[in-house]
Symmetry: C2
DNA sequence: TTGTATGCGTTATCAA
DNA sequence: TTGATAACGCATACAA
């Protein structure tokens, strides 16, 4: 490899000059426009290669009024669910000729707003968003709607709905499955550690879980329901409080796997036997749930399949396809499943 | 309702027309050019806001010949090391006004080439790359060098060097630490499960590990050294072969944590006691090593700190700073540390 | 089949 | 302090 810096770049105008033809012809030849002769096309492409020509996406985007870039705002790239979602989404979009501009909100509403504005200015052709835990107001996405730029919310979607494409997991059913499973396993005194109710996913998981219990005529001690960000530290704090009273819980529904793992470690430290004395179920089927001892029962969300749905929706919307893949504002709900392991 | 067709977008020309001033003035006002009066600036900004104006990065990029986009090619976004590296890098670059275009090569050389070309055409201002396991030829990055576009390799860097910025972990020392630690823990019959030697990181970890042993006058059975992609399946295959002979190993250096975790699970299944009968050390200090039982000793690579170095290098290079942060072609080597847990 | 002319929206240069 | 103009590189409508 050499470092030799060549003179300034060659444009289609330079190629045209060299070949003694017009820039328009060069442009058409390079874009495989059928109205150009095979001979010219070949000549142009060869010369372009020789001259080290590279297509300028910025100029092309400006002229075409489309960037071929799709924006993605995700709370945290390092979360299992999102990292697999992204991998799958990117593969699909790449194949369709789009590039992904991935940004992390880090669960900060302010940062989410800033990123939305940046991507708006960057003229992304579409925007895909999984909201922060605390996003209530979604006016920072209004510009996209007004400009008719396809907007897709997935997983953590606006609580109050939105005139956008909405693709979400069946969190209600996930909660229901968790509740039913714990009860079938014999739990009578259940605790629930959930994320903040400002997020759609925890609202629904909570509703599903409580409905499951209610259907069996069971109710929960209010002080055994915790709502906070589901970090390791917060989990331990809640677990300590949960186990400081007389009555001990015999089942815990942890609304994410990080919390479920913390619960397993907490139980180990306290010498609480799992699943005999305490049953635990997590959420997301993070691969970590399979490697801890005992392996944790969890709810699978199929991130790749959800990404496929998002990609399909995007591609249809971007091509202004006559039959829309699914209606704007009508949530598309993706299935979830219980994965039973050793903690229940 | 009138039939007035709502104009899709307002440009600075539209703002200029409304205010009866020139587009140049509008541009300068919006860019906080000091040669514009405070009054005008305020008037322009207010009107821009009212008219729902958004800056067009494509046009601006074309004119300025810089996109403010930095390309990133990473083998797999879901690997712990890379996902934390990305998070940190993105925060830094965001703060400096750059957007990241993240792409995954999925350890495919062909895809890496394609992505390099795409990002080249997309006119990224700089490119950051961690190579696939198999990339030997790096001519697909030559265009960047020829155009003087800053090119940074990190972690998995070109084996033969390159006239680019190179930032890597101290894999040689990591291997050395692993070897010394196993020997200090009393291991005499060690096995080594490594990734393909086509990758810089495994070359160096291997060299370090073998050097450590050699310094103590120890050598390794050649059939106890495995080289393959470090997946769960491959790990189990190698482990099975490793334990099918008469002589059993008393120590394993796994060149990544996925393999170390597999080794722990394998030992559990076989009833091999850890660390009594077998000691295990992994690489990367993936958080998973801390949650398996027993928790695994590993080598910390400090991904965030490496990202900081990459960000510093990029920002200096992009500003054509007189004092370059570090010389082109001279690898910047980042420290690693041993994190001792229960498997040694 | 190819050429001419124009404009996408912005900003740097030069002039006023 | 502001304005007029040109150009960044490309792709299209229209003309030939």
């Amino acid at each position: 490899m050499t470092t030799k810096k060549s003179k300034s770049e060659n444009s289609i105008v330079d190629i045209a000059r060299v070949l003694g033809i017009s820039p328009a012809t060069v442009s058409r030849a390079l874009n495989n426009n059928p109205r150009i002769s095979e001979a010219t096309r070949k000549r142009v492409k060869e010369t372009a290669k020789e001259m080290g020509y590279r297509h300028n996406s910025m100029a092309s985007s400006l002229r075409n009024r489309r960037s071929n870039i799709i924006g993605l705002i995700v709370p945290r790239i390092s979360m299992y669910f999102h990292s697999f979602f992204i991998t799958s989404l990117q593969r699909q979009l790449q194949a369709a000729g789009y590039n992904l501009m991935i940004c992390q909100s880090n669960d900060s509403v302010d940062l989410e707003k800033e990123l939305a504005n940046t991507l708006y200015s960057a003229r992304v052709d579409a925007l895909v968003v999984s909201l922060t835990l605390y996003t209530k107001d979604i006016t920072h996405f209004e510009g996209f709607l007004q400009q008719g730029i396809p907007l897709v919310f997935y997983d953590r979607v606006p609580v109050l709905g939105a005139p956008a494409y909405i693709i979400k997991g069946d969190d209600y059913r996930g909660g229901l499955l968790a509740g039913n499973h714990l009860m079938q396993a014999g739990c009578v005194h259940m605790a629930y550690i959930s994320g903040p109710m400002s997020s759609s996913i925890y609202q629904e998981r909570t509703r599903g879980f409580l409905d499951a219990l209610a259907k069996q005529g069971m109710s929960m001690r209010e002080d055994w329901v915790y709502h906070h960000e589901l970090t390791v530290e917060n989990a331990w704090n809640s677990l300590r409080r949960l186990f400081e009273g007389e009555q001990l819980p015999d089942g815990i529904f942890a609304a994410n796997d990080t919390t479920a793992i913390a619960a397993v470690e907490f139980a180990r430290e306290r010498g609480i036997r799992i699943p005999d004395d305490l049953k635990i179920i997590g959420y997301s089927n993070d691969p970590r749930t399979a490697i801890v001892t005992p392996a944790i029962t969890s709810i699978e969300q199929y991130p790749s399949e959800m990404a496929d749905k998002v990609a399909d929706t995007l591609i249809h919307a971007l091509q202004a396809h006559p039959t829309v893949f699914h209606a704007i504002g009508e949530p598309l709900v993706c299935p979830v499943d219980l994965v039973r392991r050793m903690t229940t």
